[in-house]
């Protein structure tokens, strides 16, 4: 896995070891779907057999029509829903063989999620929101958690707003917090579902840039759903969701924006 070699400001030996033990035991694809199919209870099938692989450090965009199943795919990848048929492997582990608790443990160690509608915890301050994954997924002590979260907040440009509650932030700022929260525990994979969908295009542009920069800085993989072909074009690969399967986009470059 290549992430260990990436530069990350202020990453000390201990934290490196931390990260290694969390994410380096496996060096195959971070995410792998084999013929994954899914239907919501009582509805027709949404995904008909998705085959897909995401290499370490790779950044992939998924586009497609509304209702085509993009979000559903991310949910399967995160282990929030279980595939009806086929296999989903996260960091080399087959999700089907895991119970709810084990899936949750795997998710919190390997995955960071950025939602379209931020999903910050309103009862926690911004800093506490960012500390949350550290508390859940690592055994860093309180001071360490505070320090790492603070650093991550500074990295997204909100170092001075850690004591505020989410309701006192703008949408763009809230999404920055969400990005910081998704990255703070150095997961192997970031799943982002239209992270700029709730923001105006200029703010969206900034946030997207920030996300890419942070992903690059930590060296993790990214699977991103977006409606913007222009933004999608800035990633390594663009796939289209159509008729319940993923297809390689006709033209990865030069798509009309």
């Amino acid at each position: 896995m290549s992430t260990g070699t990436t530069q990350h400001p202020g990453l000390n030996g201990q934290q490196k070891a931390d990260r290694m033990s969390e994410s380096s035991s496996f060096s195959g694809p971070v995410l792998r779907l084999i013929g994954a199919a899914f239907a919501y209870p009582g509805e027709g099938e949404v995904l008909h057999g998705v085959d897909f692989e995401l290499a370490p450090g790779e950044r992939v965009a998924i586009v497609g029509e509304s209702g085509s199943g993009k979000s559903t795919l991310l949910h399967l990848a995160a282990g929030l829903e279980a595939a009806d048929r086929g296999e989903v492997h996260l960091a080399g582990e087959a999700l089907a063989g895991l119970d709810e608790a084990a899936r949750t443990r795997l998710r919190r160690a390997k995955v960071g999620i950025v939602f379209q509608s931020f999903h910050l915890i309103p009862t926690l301050t911004v800093l506490e929101n960012v500390m949350l994954p550290l508390e859940l997924a690592t055994d860093a002590n309180a001071a360490e958690r505070r320090e790492r979260a603070g650093r991550q907040l500074t990295a997204v440009g909100l170092g001075d707003k850690g004591d505020r509650y989410p309701e006192a932030l703008s949408g763009g700022e809230q999404q920055r917090v969400a990005i910081a929260r998704a990255l703070v525990h150095q997961p192997a994979l970031i799943l982002a579902d239209e992270p700029t969908g709730n923001l105006d295009s200029r703010t969206g542009e900034t946030i997207f840039g920030l996300l890419l920069e942070q992903v690059r800085a930590t060296g993790c993989s990214l699977l991103l759903v977006t409606h913007s072909h222009e933004l999608a074009g800035r990633l390594d690969r663009v796939l289209t969701m159509r008729d319940g399967v993923l297809q390689l986009s006709e033209a990865t470059e030069g798509v009309p924006a």
Partner: protein
């Protein structure tokens, strides 16, 4: 109103059946409890009234004599002298073989007509057989049906005159009617009809009153009263009927007030429950309101659907609740009847119908409060046209603002309450007003205290993210967590308050019994406990008792109802042991204690009990005009002592004082024997029993332990109903907190889903929810301790003292307080199990998709 709007609103019943059903259950339970308590309360009142009316009938006045009755010849003289509207009565309690206590009324059927015809159905009853066949008796209407007997039955009755077999006659059958369709067999006959009517001659045998009467009922015009009073011999008194019932009515009043207090409490808790569930039912769907408003649905249409639903839930819940309440009332009514029987009369309350006022009250509670609780948030939500404006955030911010205002109001109420107590304004009613001011003040203060407690807790767990989430979300949902916590606090405080009151009372009674029972053995007439007051033993037994038991000292005591200038009072005439004053729990005396014994024996002087002093508003040095041997004399009150034996109060007089100027009372109510140091009590009992078996009168030997046990059993039965009510309020509070926790968690579903997606394990979610329940439970339990102790103190020092005249030593039942605290925390934890389980198993994706 558009069908789609209606559908948009009501669809929730299919989507979240558990929550909507909880709303309905909230209304049902709330209504049921309030109605049941009111029914029990009202049945107690009816039982008293009816017993009183039945016994007194249409009489305006009664001629009364000594407790042992007076010569029946006087009745003949009275009629001869032209007083025709008069009916002789012999009455008293008796016991059926199955242990039930009944009240026997012996009448002269020929003279009865105008008196009790309506009340006890004697007017057209088969009087012929009562007169011609000795040993026949008419049970109350409906007794035959209830007991499953044919039209005639034989039973052995145990009463003051010993055991006698009597023939029970069915009134209905004698009138040649089918048993199922007795004339006048309406509610009136079912209720309280507890009199067993017989001919006076039979009653005289049963009740040991040969040749004697207990009273004569009269109907007098105002101008006749004085003439008759003047014509009466010295041992007889003419008493107006109202004054007779007064003391008992006063007591009934006190008993009712305690019940009313409980029912108001139940009402308060039920109101919390209904408010909470109904408000939640609307708030839960505020996005529906917002979206409907956005597409242009008018405010009125939204109100229409909310109103319709609240009305349906309110009406259905009220109807079901009323049915459940009537069923629950049967249990309570049985308890009430037992209490009344133990203390006052033998009553049989078999059924009650809710009175219109109570029905109106529960309707207002069930339907009115449902509407108010649903419409207020609907109005709030409909006012804002955008979904953003309807978020809970705004509401909760306002709730926190209210908390401060409520706290201010609370402090005013608390001050007013304390002021009332300090100044002692308003006596009994004032005591209750003060009690409710304090409770209301305390409850209104709770949200504010809760908010600050949670804030403090949140600061305490800074940096420990998960507990902080739990605590902060409680604080942010104050409009939800505060009412539920208040309900639980109230229920727990009531439990503690009652425990303090009953515990103190019980302790004081136990201690008093230990002091009052200063003999080693007692010899009492063989009669049911409630009839013992009227039964007598021969005075001349003293020598025989000493000879058989080897007693070193014999005391005797006789209670009788005598006429006084304060109406009829209970007079206890004693021939005490020499050292009796050492044991008597005297509260205050007019003369030094050493001199008291001599004064009581030599002068016209008495002692009175604490309740007597309170009810009749008399004190040391006051004089009572009492009918003692030889007629009325004035007696000075030399002391007041503590006594729980007679809630109406007792006057204590030595036999020496009583008999001066006439004969001692004929007969003794009980003998007390002091055995020599180290004597074998068993042996003494055996010898006494053998000796008693040879005597004409049936008597028993009892020990202080037996009397204590019997008294405490009655005591415990009296308060069984309060325990029952305590359980009921706790159940209601449990449902309230369950509803609140479910509501809280449902509102936070999206947050929980987020946490789960970030990696919180299902067990962690359970932990969070249970932690929230625990925090609320601990808070409620801790808050309940001061409130409960305060309520207990007030019940003892103000309310019971005013109502009963009983003083008692405050005892803090720490064990019960501890139990109640554990119960509260346990209830809250238990109530969090269901939401915890639901939250942990929640499907994440739909919850994540929810609109924030």
């Amino acid at each position: 109103m558009s069908g789609l709007v209606l559908r948009a609103w009501l669809r929730d019943w299919r989507r979240r059946p558990l929550q909507r059903v909880l709303t309905l259950i909230g209304v049902i339970i709330g209504v049921a409890v309030v109605l049941a308590v009111d029914l029990a309360n009202q049945s107690a009142q009816r039982a008293f009234d009816r017993s009183m009316d039945e016994v007194a009938g249409a009489a305006t006045h009664q001629v009364l004599g000594p407790a042992s009755g007076f010569d029946e010849a006087f009745y003949r003289d009275l009629r001869m002298a032209g007083w025709r509207d008069a009916a002789p009565i012999v009455e008293g309690p008796a016991r059926l073989p199955d242990g039930a206590t009944i009240y026997v009324l012996g009448v002269d059927p020929l003279a009865e007509g105008p008196f009790r015809g309506a009340a006890s159905d004697i007017g057209d009853a088969p009087v012929q057989r009562l007169v011609t066949e000795p040993g026949t008796i008419l049970p109350p209407a409906g007794w035959f049906r209830a007991s499953g007997e044919a039209h005639e039955a034989r039973r052995v009755l145990e009463a003051a005159g010993g055991e006698h077999e009597v023939t029970l006659i069915d009134r209905a059958a004698e009138r040649d009617e089918g048993p199922g369709e007795e004339a006048g067999d309406g509610a009136a006959d079912d209720m309280g009809a507890s009199l067993w009517v017989t001919d006076i001659a039979t009653a005289q045998v049963l009740l040991d009153r040969l040749g004697r009467l207990d009273r004569i009922d009269l109907r007098l015009a105002d101008n006749e009263v004085e003439a008759l009073a003047a014509a009466l011999p010295a041992e007889l008194e003419l008493v107006a009927v109202e004054s007779r019932g007064q003391a008992a009515r006063q007591l009934a009043q006190a008993f009712r007030i305690n019940l009313t207090a409980m029912s108001l409490l139940a009402l308060l808790i039920a109101a919390f429950l209904i408010y909470n569930t109904q408000t939640f039912a609307v708030l839960r769907r505020r996005e529906v309101i917002a979206s409907l408003r956005l597409v242009g649905v008018g405010r009125r249409a939204i109100f229409g659907v909310v109103l319709l639903e609240a009305l349906l839930v309110g009406v259905i819940g009220t109807v079901l609740g009323a049915l459940l309440g009537v069923a629950l009332a049967q249990v309570l009514v049985a308890q009430v009847a037992q209490t009344v029987t133990d203390h006052f009369f033998a009553v049989a309350v078999t059924g009650v119908t809710p009175r219109p006022l109570a029905l109106a009250a529960v309707f207002l509670l069930g339907v009115g409060l449902s509407l108010a609780a649903a419409l207020a948030p609907a109005w709030e939500a409909a006012r804002a046209a955008s979904p953003a404006g309807t978020g809970r955030g705004g509401l909760e911010r306002r709730a926190r603002g209210w908390a401060a205002w409520l706290a201010l109001a609370a402090i005013i109420l608390l001050l007013a309450g304390v002021g009332m107590i300090v100044t002692g304004a308003g006596a009994l009613v004032g005591g209750f007003v003060a009690l409710f001011l304090l409770i209301a003040g305390f409850v209104l203060l709770l949200p504010w205290v809760l908010a600050w407690t949670l804030r403090g807790l949140a600061a305490l767990v800074r940096g420990v993210t998960l507990p902080r989430i739990a605590v902060r979300s409680l604080e942010r949902s104050l409009s939800r967590s505060a009412p539920a916590t208040s309900a639980l606090t109230l229920a727990l405080a009531a439990a503690i308050g009652v425990a303090v009151m009953v515990g103190s009372f019980r302790g004081s009674v136990e201690q008093w019994l230990g002091q009052a029972l200063t003999s080693d053995l007692y010899v009492v007439p063989a009669a049911p406990a409630s009839a013992r007051g009227g039964a007598r033993l021969p005075e001349g037994w003293t020598a025989g008792l000493v000879a058989q038991s080897g007693a070193v000292s014999v005391s005797s005591g006789t209670t009788q109802e005598v006429v006084s200038d304060r109406g009829l009072v209970d007079l206890y005439v004693v021939r005490p042991h020499g050292d009796w004053l050492q044991y008597l729990p005297l509260l205050e005396t007019a003369v030094p204690r050493e001199a008291l014994g001599a004064r009581l024996a030599a002068d016209d002087a008495v002692l009175v009990t604490e309740p007597f002093a309170a009810h009749h508003d008399v004190g040391l040095g006051d004089r009572l005009s009492l009918a003692a041997a030889g007629g009325r004399r004035a007696f000075e009150i030399l002391g007041i002592y503590r006594d729980y034996g007679n809630p109406q109060g007792t006057v204590l007089m030595t036999q020496a004082a009583f008999a001066r100027g006439g004969a001692p009372p004929d007969g003794v109510g009980s003998f007390g024997l002091r055995l020599p140091e180290g004597a074998d009590a068993e042996q003494a009992v055996e010898r006494l029993e053998a000796w008693l078996a040879e005597q004409q009168r049936a008597a028993l030997v009892t020990r202080p332990g037996d009397i204590e046990q019997e008294s405490m059993a009655i005591f415990d039965r009296t308060f069984a109903i309060t325990h029952l009510l305590r359980v009921i309020t706790l159940v209601v509070a449990f449902i309230a907190i369950l509803g609140a926790l479910i509501a809280l968690q449902m509102e936070r579903a999206r947050e929980f889903a987020t946490l789960r997606s970030l990696g919180l394990l299902p067990g962690g979610v359970r932990g969070l929810v249970v932690l929230q329940g625990g925090v609320l439970g601990v808070f409620a339990a801790l808050a309940a301790i001061p409130l409960g102790l305060g309520m207990g103190w007030l019940l003892i020092e103000v309310i019971n003292r005013e109502a009963f005249g009983w003083g008692m030593d405050l005892r803090l039942p720490w064990v019960e307080v501890g139990e109640t605290v554990l119960l509260g925390v346990g209830a809250a934890l238990l109530a969090s199990v269901i939401p915890a389980w639901r939250m942990a198993r929640m499907r994440l994706v739909p919850a994540l998709r929810e609109v924030p």
